[in-house]
Subunit: 197 residues, 4 copies
């Protein structure tokens, strides 16, 4: 008798193995055989839970984005003021769960391949738009719209840029350092543009 509810479990298990394989071997060498071995299952079974490899990669991506979204939503709920809302978005991106070597590596690898994969590109941009929107709303309560827009764009770029640098350096990511740099940026924007408001 087949176990009930195995499907979501298996999918999570395989997605985790995919992330781990991408980190260990690189996206190009993260073969289904390796992913399956890492998940402790057979090669063939992957096609019971995903259409094909593209689908697995796509769902892996979606999973990363979803984790980040959930993290962001939770922190936004706990925020009390506009500045807190901005920093909530920032901190979500550097939360331990997101800001780990494995996840960052997977993310960056997927960025690279998204450029020629419309589906991937699409969800990336949806996430990007939502992040930007959150930041804009936060800043908008603190300064004029034009400045808020630029401040938000800058903050988003800073987040991505820091990620990129940590990922490439291969250092253990330092959430505190990232947080401080971003906080400083946010406060500077508020202090300068907010003062004129």
């Amino acid at each position: 008798m087949p176990k009930v509810g195995m499907k979501p479990l298996r999918r999570k298990q395989l997605i985790a193995a995919a992330i781990s394989s991408i980190h260990e071997y690189g996206l190009a060498d993260a073969t289904l055989a390796r992913i399956a071995r890492k998940a402790g299952v057979s090669t063939g079974i992957i096609h019971h839970y995903f259409d094909d490899k593209n689908d697995l990669i796509f769902e892996t991506m979606r999973s990363l984005l979803e984790d980040l979204r959930v993290e962001t939503v939770q922190r936004l709920r706990a925020a009390n003021d506009p500045r807190g809302r901005v920093l909530a978005v920032v901190d979500a991106s550097f939360a331990p769960q997101q800001f780990s070597v494995e996840v960052m590596t997977a993310w960056l690898s997927l960025y690279g391949s998204a450029l020629n994969a419309p589906e991937l590109r699409r969800i990336f941009n949806i996430y990007g738009a939502r992040l930007a929107s959150n930041l804009r709303h936060g800043f908008a309560a603190l300064m004029p719209m034009a400045e808020a827009r630029l401040a938000a764009e800058g903050a988003a770029a800073l987040i991505d840029g820091l990620w990129l640098q940590f990922a490439l350096k291969g250092d253990l990511p330092d959430p505190d350092h990232a947080h401080r740099l971003l906080s400083s940026y946010v406060d500077l924007q508020i202090a300068y543009h907010g003062a004129r408001q």
Copy 2:
């Protein structure tokens, strides 16, 4: 008697075809056959000028980095004051030659694959260190070292982050917009931290 001086020409030609192929098909599908066809040569010839595919990719990377380095050096020479030196570094990164869709796509694709390719990672980091150093020197003349260090780090992250976003959006990159955003960041840093000096 064979033509003299063909080697550097052919290598440039093939590197250009590689960049173009990466943009068109993605790094994973930029096969030697496609690169050769785009360069108008046969598959086999690639191995006269490069050890293997990895070597071609590596040299493509090195070429991109070298172009950026040259661009940066030229603009640094033309700069008159510390602020100008910082902006020279910034503008070099958004110079038309660098800030084109083709080049950005190639760059981002290579970032992704560099994570598991020590050689690529190495030259990436050398470039990153030099960029950071240039920025630090510029800022150092305008504010205390501790602040200069953070300002430089922020500027570098902003540059990379903006690139990332442009690359992912697939928009035509807008150098002026990028320049304005970065200028604003630089001026804000100077205004705030420089004032206390």
Copy 3:
């Protein structure tokens, strides 16, 4: 559920196809595609059962040597006296299973390529040492050690030399003729050197 015990079967099947292909096309033109076709399987499957082509060739060689070893051991068991033991070794080398055109061709082809393949060379020499040892032991019971050593060496050379000639001539090998020639050699050695003992 996959079939159990397929592995040794497939390996034997592929080794047989390799021997046959070497005979038909020569070692240089015994491509994996041809071997696979002869075995009635696809090209890819070979790499499920062997690391790579070298491994297949190596195992083919080992298989030939092992067949000869088994044949030799069996005949040695059935031998009653020293002379019988010497002739057992001789006859094993000319047993129908070994002394067929296909097998001889494969053997000679592999000799040629073993010269620059340390692994092949190694097992060849192990086999050669064992053959020589068997012959030496046989002769040693019949004559002084110094003579036995030379007689054994001569017998081994005769066996290999006859093989070579049959292989090159492409004649159907004639085990009886080979047996007679070797027997005569053995008897002459015994008659001459054994008399002095």
Copy 4:
């Protein structure tokens, strides 16, 4: 102005490079590029002096056989009696020029590939027939034809077998040892079969 008589020189030079390359890399990896480099000429030039690679290999083979033939003829001329004629043939095969590691390796490699190359096989057999004939004539003056035939066949096999073993062992060949073993064989044949004549 082209040098006169360059053709035979170049051919010898290339054949020597071929032999050396076969020894160093094995027949399979003795590419025209390597042979050319070893001869100190360009790749393309080989096709001015040989039809194609097969032709070069064929001529290399013929050169080896011809050297052996000349050596044999010279020694036969110097021989005074039947026994001397037999040993002349034997010694020619183990003359330093023939019995060198490079030459033996080339020879054995070519044996292997001759099995599926009718042209090579043909000249091999012509040589073999001549060798056998020389030996037979020598023995025929010393014993009845039937015995002479077998003695000649045995001697030929011994020669080839010893070659094989030296080649495979990779030892420095020991002409004296080979000579002694063969001499002993010849003398034993004469002593035994010749006595009854």
